[in-house]
């Protein structure tokens, strides 16, 4: 497959753009593979790519029940950051951010990663102190982060609600300059193209209906397009993890499926050049502006378990009021679209990339709100875990048994609660 380059654009442009090839092969299933990855979202496609690229395992199938990138990979608010303070999360998300920084070059596909900076606002001295502690821990781990006081923040983002009459006046923000946004579909297509180039079969419209085992060893899966054999099967199906876990015999997991809404406004002129986030009390809000000009934003979960990819009205109004509190200038901007995705909400707000009790079955799940930014490292670590039948140092704490041994990665300090993020 030809590399994308400026020369290609000129050449194709001069010849009527008639000989572009499809970016990746839409394959039909073979009867067996070395590794099957269930789930053609960003994480599954990245896993297949890194299996081929880093571990030389190219006889790989990614099987997807719908079309690639049609689940949460295409439904998120595209924020990328690494502001985590617990060992286990810190190194994992920073590893991911480093992979993001070179991803377009590595994949030869423009994922439009824009390090526009991420501002986490604070409103109370207590909140400020907790955030300073977190960002100090990040800095000790070599991750960038700085404290902006109210004046510095005002010169950076002048049109937030700085009124002293506000319910909670803004005191300042913690800033991660290397954080930003990326184009979510491009990430999926880029990984699909790069994986397909290395020989990976991407099989769409192929739903897993069961698992085949032989004496305690997993040997393949039953699908809507027939039986496919493989000695190693990796699941990266956030949102539907519990359903497949039951089919595989893993039983109940520390996960609830919840829906999270996202919103995008009509395109407007450049208005916001960073990602702005705040969480105070029950209020939670994050916003950025896409390259097309749409304001992309979201807030809390709808609040009750759900597998329906549609959001409810009370949350919609809640998020809109968060937007108005923070950026009153948005009041006349019309909403263009609104949608919902199904999150794997884990009991401590952190994910798992791990082996399971079933030989040959590997699990990548529990991403809560945070799966998009994790995409490169998730695939990188999951590929390592599958190839070596053991985790890498970067994901060794993202286990499933941490709940039993008391080693939860509970960033928000909520205790067992399937709605942390």
């Amino acid at each position: 497959m030809s590399r994308y380059s400026a020369w290609q654009i000129v050449k194709q442009g001069l010849t009527g753009n008639k000989s572009w090839e499809p970016a990746w092969r839409d394959a039909s299933p073979k009867s067996s593979y070395d590794v099957i990855i269930i789930g053609g979202g960003g994480h599954g496609l990245a896993t297949a790519y890194y299996l081929a690229k880093n571990h030389g395992i190219t006889n790989v199938a990614v099987i997807e029940k719908g079309w690639i990138g049609g689940g949460n990979a295409g439904r998120n608010t595209t924020i990328v950051r690494s502001n985590y303070f617990m060992e286990g999360n810190t190194e994992f998300y920073e590893h991911s951010l480093k992979l993001w920084e070179n991803l377009s070059q590595e994949l030869n596909y423009n994922v439009m990663f824009s390090q526009r900076g991420h501002l986490n606002l604070f409103f109370t001295p207590g909140q400020r102190d907790a955030m300073i502690r977190k960002y100090n821990i990040m800095r000790l781990n070599g991750i960038d982060g700085e404290l902006l006081d109210r004046d510095q923040l005002m010169s950076k983002v002048p049109h937030l609600n700085y009124s002293q009459e506000a319910r909670l006046p803004i005191l300042g923000a913690l800033y991660q300059g290397r954080a930003g946004t990326a184009r979510h579909d491009a990430v999926n297509w880029g990984y699909a193209r790069a994986a397909s180039n290395l020989g990976v079969d991407i099989i769409q419209n192929c739903e897993v209906t069961g698992f085949i085992s032989n004496g305690g060893q997993l040997v393949g899966v039953e699908t809507s397009r027939g039986e496919i054999r493989a000695e190693k099967v990796g699941m990266a199906v956030a949102g539907s993890t519990s359903l497949l876990a039951h089919k595989a015999g893993l039983g109940r997991l520390p996960i609830e499926s919840h829906k999270l809404q996202a919103f995008v406004s009509e395109p407007i002129k450049p208005f916001l050049d960073s990602v702005v986030v705040y969480g105070v009390g029950h209020g939670h809000f994050y916003i950025s502006q896409s390259d097309k000009g749409g304001m992309v934003f979201g807030g809390n979960l709808d609040g009750y378990n759900s597998y329906a990819q549609k959001g409810n009205l009370p949350l919609y109004t809640d998020v809109a009021s968060c937007a108005m509190n923070m950026m009153p200038a948005l009041g006349r901007v019309k909403l263009l679209r609104q949608w919902a995705g199904i999150m794997d909400m884990s009991m401590d707000g952190s994910p798992f990339i791990t082996k399971t009790d079933i030989n040959g079955l590997y699990l990548n799940a529990g991403w809560c709100y945070g799966g998009f930014k994790a995409t490169p490292a998730s695939g990188w670590c999951f590929a390592h875990t599958i190839a070596h039948d053991a985790p890498h140092d970067v994901n060794k704490l993202l286990t499933l048994d941490r709940y039993k041994t008391g080693h939860m990665l509970d960033e928000s300090g909520h205790g067992p609660y399937p709605k942390s993020h």
């Binding site: 409810n312 009370p314 009991m347």
Partner: protein
């Protein structure tokens, strides 16, 4: 908007309620020291796609905790009753079963 038929207050919008948790969980007795039993109740979830029994608190109404049957895919609401068996039984008595809507 979901609408829940509260046995005390009648049909109300769900934003009067607070979703509490999966209603199928049975917590071990406080004297039970078996770690596995606690782990099971505190962390593991059936997480079905389909019929789900759950606890909702009528925060801005009668403040009763209700057990609600709801389909997690279609959001169709089934049977609703107070979570506390004594309140459920009391509501069945003719004198206290008056329903306002």
């Amino acid at each position: 908007m979901l609408r829940l038929d509260c046995p005390v207050c009648g049909l109300r919008d769900h934003d009067e309620f607070t979703y509490l948790e999966d209603g199928s969980i049975t917590y071990p007795k406080l004297t039970n020291e078996n770690q596995d039993d606690w782990f099971d109740a505190v962390y593991l979830r059936e997480n079905p796609r389909g019929r789900h029994v759950e606890k909702w608190h009528h925060t801005f109404g009668c403040r009763t905790v209700l057990l609600v049957e709801r389909d997690t895919l279609t959001h169709v609401i089934g049977k609703i009753k107070p979570a506390h068996p004594k309140i459920a039984a009391a509501l069945k008595q003719p004198a206290t079963a008056k329903k306002r809507s």
